[in-house]
């Protein structure tokens, strides 16, 4: 009879965490921040059709980094959760906090019980009635939830980006200022990013019921090009 090898639980968890972190670190970073009229999410993403940032519900946006198929599965599940909840109860009863919690439950479950953890980090953002009451929930591959204030960075090289962005951040800045700072923080001192390398979306007041809006390439070009002059 063959005996299974004993592996210490600490070792198992550490290996899984390393595995997930490596997968996530390979991808480009993504940044979420508040500005005077809403929430801005800015990602480095050369694809125009495989989105990292998406709409979940009227005031809720989703952004993910890491393995595309894995965070996209989470995104679709989030849309399903929100739409069924809003249909069964009321549109007002759909909130980011409960969605962040069920994401955390699921990621935690996968991390401890499945062979392979999910190589993703996600952001669930909700636009508050007042912009200052907006929420940014940053959820890690193991189900850890961090309720971030003002801004957060996900993905590869996150600490360096966070350091650069922290120096630039100001409360109640305009969308244009926030985009410029985000792009410069994502790019770093040695690279330049053009509009084509970016995916930018906002949850903005004044967009009606559905507050999610993508910032078009034309608008983006204007903002990003001015910066270089």
């Amino acid at each position: 009879m063959s005996m299974p090898y004993y592996v210490a639980p600490e070792q198992v968890m550490k290996d899984r965490a390393d595995y997930a972190r490596k997968g996530i670190a390979r991808g480009r970073a993504l940044l979420g921040t508040l500005y005077d009229r809403g929430v801005l999410i800015c990602a480095e993403n050369p694809s125009r059709s495989l989105h990292k940032i998406s709409e979940i519900y009227d005031r809720i946006a989703f952004a993910g980094v890491g393995k595309y198929n894995e965070f996209d599965q989470l995104r679709v599940a989030g849309v399903r959760h929100a739409d069924t909840k809003g249909y069964a109860y009321s549109r007002h009863d759909v909130d980011a906090r409960s969605l962040a919690n069920i994401y955390a439950q699921y990621l935690g479950q996968v991390f401890t019980h499945e062979m392979k953890p999910m190589e993703v980090e996600i952001l669930v953002a909700e636009l508050g009635t007042n912009v200052s009451e907006s929420q940014l929930y940053h959820i890690l591959y193991d189900g850890t939830v961090v309720d971030e204030t003002n801004y957060c960075v996900l993905g590869g090289d996150a600490e360096a980006v966070l350091g650069r962005f922290g120096e630039l951040f100001r409360t109640s800045w305009t969308l244009e200022e926030a985009i410029k700072a985000s792009v410069s923080a994502l790019a770093g001192p040695e690279r330049g990013l053009s509009a084509n390398d970016l995916e930018v979306a906002v949850l903005a007041q004044g967009n009606g019921r559905r507050t999610f809006k993508r910032v078009s390439q034309e608008e983006l070009k204007e903002i990003v090009t001015v910066k270089k002059e």
């Binding site: 998406s54 709409e55 399903r80 809003g86 249909y87």
Partner: protein
């Protein structure tokens, strides 16, 4: 609630009705309700349930209009004077209904969620044709209830981004879908409303003119049909008028409708038929 994640071969895709079916933990499912509610309905008289009535749709230069009166009746009783029977289906389409108000409102709500759900899951909006077909499927699913007397008949209009024009779709109770050319009206006052539109319609009407035309047609319907409500100046209740054009759905303001309704009534009083 837990996260709705499915096995690859059981995934409902962007279909919200199918999603409700697969979740199966107590959410009200339109399709299920229609199957279970159908029997035993004989006990409830159809005339005890509120019915909505006249809806009219007319194409104009650069868009399409849909309008409905505000009355719901249960037999000979006025069940509601302020019911709303015209809704946006999504940003570029609108739906109005005649028939049993309860199932109709549920159907509209489900239709709205279905379109938005598809758009979010897939990342693109359905074509107008696709939206019209979705609605046809919902009507067909309602057939058992329609056989019991809970008939829902919608009128669907939208802006077609491919052909760049407004389009009107009319349905029968079995889910048959018929595209109309320039105008159509449904409900108990539909014949009267359509007769007026047929008489006064000109191609390439302006938005302003088509709003007036629609209000007059509803007024004429209300003159002849007791289940259709006219403009109610005493309570300040006026028909709902919405337009869909290249900028999307827009509901005409109550102030504007009140004003035009007043003009329509004055016009009739001054020289129109008084029979």
């Amino acid at each position: 609630m837990n996260l709705p994640i499915f096995e690859v071969n059981e995934d409902p895709g962007p279909n919200f009705f199918k999603l409700l079916g697969s979740l199966d933990h107590g959410e009200p499912s339109f399709l299920k309700a229609s199957q279970s509610l159908g029997h035993g309905l004989e006990a409830v008289q159809a005339n005890e349930i509120p019915h909505g009535t006249t809806i009219v749709a007319v194409r104009f230069d650069g868009g399409v209009l849909i309008a409905g009166d505000r009355r719901a009746t249960a037999g000979n009783i006025i069940a509601d004077r302020r019911i709303e029977k015209v809704y946006p289906a999504d940003r570029f389409s609108a739906v109005g209904f005649a028939g049993s108000a309860g199932p109709a409102m549920e159907m509209v709500k489900l239709f709205q969620v279905q379109l938005e759900h598809y758009e979010k899951v897939e990342g693109v909006t359905l074509s107008l044709e696709g939206k019209a077909n979705q609605l046809a499927q919902m009507i067909r699913a309602n057939l058992p209830m329609a056989m019991q007397g809970l008939v829902v008949v919608p009128l669907f209009v939208g802006w077609d981004k491919e052909s760049l024009k407004g389009r009107i779709f009319n349905y029968d109770v079995t889910g048959g879908r018929y595209e109309e050319v320039d105008y159509y009206a449904i409900g108990s006052g539909g014949r009267e409303a359509q007769a007026y539109v047929k008489f006064a319609y000109r191609s390439q009407l302006s938005k302003q003119d088509v709003i007036r035309l629609a209000l007059r047609s509803l007024f004429e319907a209300a003159q002849e049909d007791s289940a259709t409500g006219g403009p109610d100046f005493m309570r300040g209740v006026y028909p709902i008028v919405a337009t869909v054009d290249e900028n999307g759905y827009e509901r005409a303001s109550e102030v504007q409708i009140a004003e035009i309704s007043k003009e329509v009534v004055d016009e009739v009083a001054q020289g129109g038929p008084r029979q």
